[in-house]
Symmetry: C2
Subunit: 326 residues, 2 copies
């Protein structure tokens, strides 16, 4: 062992940071002392990554540092919030300096891009478990919620779906495009910030499109029809997944519908705001695509381009389910 | 396995709660939506408990639930903050219903007493690790800090010290008074709320008096003299620890100075406010006692009632130190 808890915090986690004016005191006291700007609501979320459950055991430390923050920023994005602060709890079997260096690099490089300041943390010894809590701001009363969709609203997703799931299935190595989607998901913070006032409801896709869209719809007892061929797939996905086959579950259909870990946003938009949303999000690298429509009847119906129904085999990741994958 | 992640959250963690007006949306969306009252600063802290490191493996689920929240409320107390919200990340090897029931009972029973609302969480599968983040409010600019002590300020502690350490050493069973101090520490929230405007600096004692007082003093490059016989010890401690012996490390001296897990507050008070502090804290069950004085010269000197110096053997718990205990 090379250092005490205090030295670890000192060495790896008190590096040059954004120095936000809303942080009165960050790391170094019993608690962080923070000031939410006037007129803003506070948005807070917490997510935990466990080695071997949320990422393969051989995942790089940089990827773990990135992903632990990214999954939380993705939750903030789904609320339309601007990220501000994070706290980090790191449980480690040992404190190998090179691992910590890489972890901090992955964490802070994403934090800097979103002006997120690390304001507190805890390092403990034990099996590798990483918990991050993120905080953000949204103008009072303007947060996006899971609730709020109406029948007739169009359903959109950002980016592409299925990449992370395919990387896992193919056991892609760190260098591949698909694997980088699994290891370094890009939280759609910029997209989320453009949606309040236009979208009626939103959620991020961590457990799979059908599962997460299902949560959104259940909040209002609604259903949807999804055009499964319209779900956006990346070039890398199309090159590796193989084509869809009529009447059979295939990667081409299953992964974009049911695999988790993509961290795209799924949101609903009333007809009169669809053009504005498409115009705004076209300015972002991720863009967005309409993939279906909200219906009054509960349940999600999947439909192929040829008009046939598609019956999905899986429906998202459940940590405690009998046959959970991941 | 008996339930999915969503069912666990539903069943055990969405029970009747305080229903605070500053919680716009709690559990059930991508993130919690919260409103800090006008004129208040936000205080936030995060702490993780690992089985076998922060509590003995056979600790009851109720105690773990209590303690995971208590250690965070203790940090809020050390800032003089009023607790408001908590988030919980629970990593579990399985989801035994009776364990979860007891854990939730321990957690919520403490939460209710302090009007803390659970506003978010994450349950994951893996080795038993519990992370809680707590949030509280303090009038803007009035938080207690580690910084701020002055030479001549008196040093106080609440309650009694050494009980939790003695329970560990003696391997006390769950029924004993000492063991209940280890398993169910009482965060000194009420004491913390009385201190802003009177105390010059504060910290909570989680790693041992000398270690934590050391952090407080280091923040201003100061030192202290501690009257080791004045450090408050409980009746249960005195009955089990045995007397101090001249020239030898003994439980009577070592545990109150160096053992962790007591979660009392240690704070410094300028001479002109000492009477007011003693008067106010006398109304609380924990009370407080003056145990020393801040000095300009760095370092902590321990002095016995007979005027002799006492040289402590240990100096607090360090998670990553070679010979850390706990």
């Amino acid at each position: 062992m090379a250092g005490t808890e205090f030295e670890i915090i000192q060495r790896y986690f008190t590096r040059k940071q954004p120095g936000r004016v809303d942080v009165i005191a960050g790391i170094g006291d019993d608690a962080a002392l923070l000031r939410v700007p006037a007129g803003m609501d506070l948005v807070a979320c917490i997510d935990t990554l466990v080695a071997g459950v949320h990422f393969p055991q051989q995942t790089s430390a940089a990827a773990i540092g990135h992903k632990a923050l990214a999954v939380n920023l993705s939750d903030l994005a789904a609320m339309g919030a601007e990220p501000a602060w994070a706290t980090l709890s790191l449980t480690l079997p040992d404190n190998a300096p090179s691992w910590l260096e890489d972890f901090a690099q992955g964490f802070f490089s994403l934090a800097e891009r979103h002006r997120v300041q690390l304001v507190g943390g805890d390092t403990t010894r034990g099996p590798l478990v990483v918990t991050v809590q993120a905080h953000g701001f949204v103008p009072a009363g303007r947060a996006l919620r899971r609730q709020g969709a109406q029948p007739g609203d169009r359903i959109y997703v950002t980016g592409t779906l299925g990449d992370a799931g395919l990387a896992l299935q193919l056991q892609e190595t760190a260098a591949s495009v698909l694997r980088s989607r699994l290891d370094f998901p890009e939280p759609r913070v910029d997209a989320g910030l453009l949606l309040p006032g236009l979208a009626s409801a939103a959620i991020d896709i961590s457990d799979g499109l059908l599962a997460d869209l299902g949560h959104l719809l259940e909040a209002d007892d609604l259903g949807a029809v999804i055009e499964v061929d319209a779900v956006p797939r990346s070039d890398a996905f199309l090159a590796s997944a193989g084509p869809g086959e009529a009447g059979k579950p295939s990667r081409f259909y299953e992964l974009p519908l049911s695999a988790g870990d993509d961290y795209e946003l799924c949101f609903t938009v009333p007809e009169q705001h669809c053009a504005a949303v498409e115009h705004r999000l076209a300015t972002l690298p991720c863009g967005c695509r309409a993939i279906g429509v909200v219906e009054a009847r509960p349940g999600i119906r999947c439909q192929r381009a040829d008009g046939e129904d598609y019956l999905p085999a899986g429906s998202g990741y459940q940590h405690f389910a009998e046959d959970g994958h991941g």
